[in-house]
């Protein structure tokens, strides 16, 4: 059984509507949760000793909440900047794989591809998935625009002390993230091959969480695709 055999696979994802507006609409429910975490990141970064501008610059360049919280918590606990950067970079290592999956959708000259690549985050990549297995370019850009404004804007509000000190966890907003990814996983649970890969990915990630540094379990879950490729 070679990999080529499964290329004309049945549509794994229902047809999605394309376009910038559709992407923005699809990710809009998450903008509130992202903003709540951006706000608290801004506040936490200040208490960890960063200047407000440094906090905003971090959100603008890293654009990945979990890695930023990880780096800040290392700093706040007295860890070195090298360890903080290492922890955050490891959490973001999955973007090397996610970027590979998004690459066919990101056409244009190298400088444009470089910029578009920065728009690929878990949520924008997930809502842009199509039945062809390649994210839709316009949905990805539309979704990323909403997420970026929400993430960087709310960090600024928190870092400059303009917002109330909020605790997103009291509102249950941390549970919004697994719920979003579950909802986007739904179409894949209907076919045996993709269901097998999803279960294997979940088992790998859970099994590695206690033994590997944060971030590595998600990256390693990419290995679950080998099960799907080798099986009929």
């Amino acid at each position: 059984m070679s990999a080529v055999d499964i290329v004309p696979a049945p549509a794994m994802v229902p047809t999605v509507r394309r376009g910038y507006g559709e992407g923005a609409r699809a990710v809009a429910p998450m903008a509130l949760a992202i903003a709540a975490f951006g706000l608290s990141f801004g506040v936490l970064a200040r208490s960890a000793g960063l200047s407000p501008w440094a906090a905003v610059a971090m959100s603008a360049t890293t654009f990945a909440g979990s890695a930023q919280f990880a780096a800040i918590s290392v700093l706040a606990a007295g860890g070195s900047a090298v360890v903080a950067v290492g922890a955050g970079a490891l959490l973001n290592a999955r973007y090397a794989v996610i970027g590979l999956s998004a690459a066919p959708a990101l056409r244009g000259p190298a400088w444009l591809r470089f910029l578009l690549a920065q728009l690929v985050v878990d949520e924008s990549w997930a809502v842009a998935q199509t039945s062809e297995g390649v994210p839709d370019r316009e949905r990805l850009i539309g979704a990323a625009f909403v997420l970026y404004v929400s993430h960087v804007g709310s960090t600024a509000v928190g870092a400059f002390g303009l917002g109330l000190l909020t605790n997103p966890k009291a509102l249950g907003l941390d549970a919004a993230f697994p719920a979003l990814f579950l909802a986007l996983l739904r179409p894949y649970l209907l076919h045996r091959r993709t269901l097998t890969v999803a279960v294997a990915g979940a088992v790998l990630a859970l099994g590695l969480t206690p033994v590997a540094p944060p971030g590595v379990p998600i990256l390693a879950a990419a290995g679950a695709v080998l099960i799907g490729v080798s099986r009929p």
Partner: protein, 95 residues
């Protein structure tokens, strides 16, 4: 912390800069298509049960259960997300 920004920018750029816009050959496309279910499932479980280097069964599990229920009732995505947040907030309030 600018180091983390630079590292992330570089990590994200690798794939799209090297082969952006190109159609992937079939042998590569097949596993790449399967990345979505693998990574989405990993994100679900790590964000629902992960707590640093530990696994935790806390209020987020109630949120995930509510999301599963909403999913089975074929609720729209906004309702799935909202039920997870509300269930988790309620458990935290009363637990």
């Amino acid at each position: 912390m600018i180091g983390l920004g630079l590292a992330t920018v570089a990590i994200k750029a690798v794939g799209p800069v090297l082969l952006g816009g190109r159609q992937l050959p079939p042998q590569v496309l097949a596993p790449v298509r399967l990345l979505a279910p693998a990574l989405l499932a990993a994100l679900v479980v790590t964000q629902a049960f992960g707590s640093g280097r530990d696994l935790a069964l806390d209020a987020r599990a109630a949120g995930l259960a509510a999301a599963v229920a909403a999913l089975l009732l074929r609720a729209p995505i906004l309702v799935i997300i909202a039920s997870a947040a509300v269930a988790t907030a309620l458990v935290r309030m009363f637990a």
